[in-house]
């Protein structure tokens, strides 16, 4: 591990130096602009062109190599320590149909996903990826407006109970879930809002179910307690969708996981922060006791 950290730290320093050099050239451009624009106008433009060319042809290339090395050499090796049957592809993501087919999220018109991880934890199969869902609109004056519906982690777990109907549990304040109980919801998609016996849970989460009994079957007092704990321990608003005997979890944290630092040293602290990011996955299995697979047979 220390070899990997040393190698990545060397790459990081190289990339950081390129960024600094880029910054320096831009600074020279701005400083020389008022001084030399009359006497030698070519000089500030030369600095600008040099900075842009350097960024495009060297900095980006070095950064890409560094990012690839960081994810494959460091992140993947840590993932392998925790998960079995691991498949990790930083350039691949979850297909948008996976989220769309749950029928639980507003999908906007721009979708991107990367850092795909598939594996098993405590023998529970899961998939996860970073996901960004946005709605881009143009107003009458031609100005573009981007509304981010979701940016964060989307995880899918095998659930330890079989169920046929859909259930949506979204944290209060999770804005862009597909509303299932409104007046304008199509009849075939309509779900009933449920109030469960835990008043604190009802305050923190909105529950929509197509079948009351199955909602109670899934949301046991233990699961409700775990969800409250997960809400406190997880950065970002949560949505949990129970669809086709699988649990989809969206963590709208507005950040990108497993990104390499540029101006922060690669050391044990980085390893710990990667482990923290991975713990978002394991936490759901542990808290919800998904490995307690005693209800499914065969």
């Amino acid at each position: 591990m220390s070899d990997i950290l040393a190698r990545l730290e060397h790459s990081r320093k190289t990339v950081a130096n390129y960024y600094l050099l880029n910054g320096l050239l831009l600074l020279l451009c701005f400083l020389s602009f008022p001084l030399l624009i009359q006497a030698a106008p070519v000089v500030p433009f030369a600095f600008l062109i040099a900075s842009v060319c350097m960024f495009l042809f060297f900095t980006l290339k070095k950064r890409k190599a560094y990012t690839t090395g960081f994810k494959h050499d460091l992140v993947e090796s840590i993932l392998k320590e925790i998960f079995t049957d691991l498949y990790f592809d930083p350039n691949r993501g979850l297909h948008n149909s996976v989220i769309k087919n749950t029928g639980m999220m507003q999908m906007g018109n721009r979708y991107s996903s990367d850092d795909y991880i598939k594996g098993k934890y405590k023998d529970i199969a899961f998939e996860q990826a970073d996901v960004c869902i946005q709605q881009v609109t143009t107003d009458s004056e031609g100005r573009s407006h981007t509304t981010t519906y979701f940016r964060g982690r989307w995880m899918i777990f095998d659930f330890n109970k079989n169920f046929a109907s859909d259930l949506q549990v979204r944290e209060s304040g999770f804005t862009y879930a597909k509303k299932k109980g409104g007046w304008f919801t199509p009849k075939e998609e309509k779900m009933k809002k449920l109030e469960l016996e835990d008043a604190e849970f009802n305050k923190g989460f909105n529950v929509y179910a197509s079948n009351d009994h199955e909602a109670y079957y899934i949301l046991t007092p233990h699961i409700m307690q775990s969800m409250k704990t997960l809400r406190e321990r997880t950065k970002g608003k949560l949505i949990l969708c129970f669809v086709a005997s699988r649990l989809h979890v969206g963590v709208n944290s507005n950040d990108n996981a497993f990104e390499p630092p540029i101006f922060r040293a690669i050391d044990e602290n980085i390893v710990n922060s990667i482990k923290q990011e991975i713990s978002v996955i394991t936490r759901f299995v542990d808290e919800l006791k998904l490995d307690r697979n005693i209800y499914k047979q065969g």
Binding site: K161, E195, L196, E197, H213, Y216, T220, I294, Y295, Q297
Partner: protein
């Protein structure tokens, strides 16, 4: 004079609308209770079936004791909620009896068939718990409507009274332990 007539007419109209809305609310709450009660019946029947299967498997090893346990529980249609609670408590006893019995037969305990039935009973009990919570939740809503003024007045006119809860005997349930 006309103004008074219109005001009184408006008040009467509002009262009629409120009465109909409250009546419908009570009826809907009662329908939900009936639906949830049928869910309890389904879960109890499933539990009884699985327990019967467990006893059938056990009979191969301890015929007399297993038959004694079978006679403890009976389910019939139209049971009151307290009778359902009682039947459920007897099933707890039955399961406890089976567990004690099985302890004497390691071959039976280790058999795949019996293990499958143990998994089934756990799942059935989860469903029964879900039905119980759903039913009791609906009963709470209904009871709150009919004891809270002014909807209690409408409930009184409809002859509605408080519904009984489906009690799970927590102490007995805690004693039921599944070994794997």
């Amino acid at each position: 004079m006309d103004t008074i007539f219109y005001v009184l007419g408006g008040i009467v109209l509002l009262l009629v609308i409120w009465f109909i809305a409250t009546r419908n609310k009570i009826v809907r709450a009662e329908v939900k209770i009936d639906e949830a009660a049928s869910g309890i019946d389904v879960a109890l029947t499933k539990r009884f079936d699985v327990l019967t299967k467990m006893l059938d498997v056990t009979k191969g090893y301890a015929k007399y004791e297993a038959e004694t346990l079978t006679r403890v529980v009976s389910l019939r249609k139209g049971m009151s909620m307290s009778e359902r609670s009682e039947a459920n408590a007897k099933m707890d006893d039955m399961l406890r009896g089976i567990n004690v019995l099985v302890e004497n037969y390691p071959d039976l305990k280790a058999s795949e068939n019996y293990k499958q039935l143990q998994l089934s009973i756990l799942d059935v009990e989860e469903h029964l718990q879900a039905s119980r919570r759903l039913y009791n939740g609906n009963v709470t809503v209904f009871n709150n409507i009919i004891v809270t003024f002014p909807s209690s007045a409408v409930a009184g006119m409809m002859g509605k009274s408080k519904k009984e809860f489906f009690e799970a005997e927590a102490k007995k349930r805690a004693d039921v332990k599944m070994d794997f």
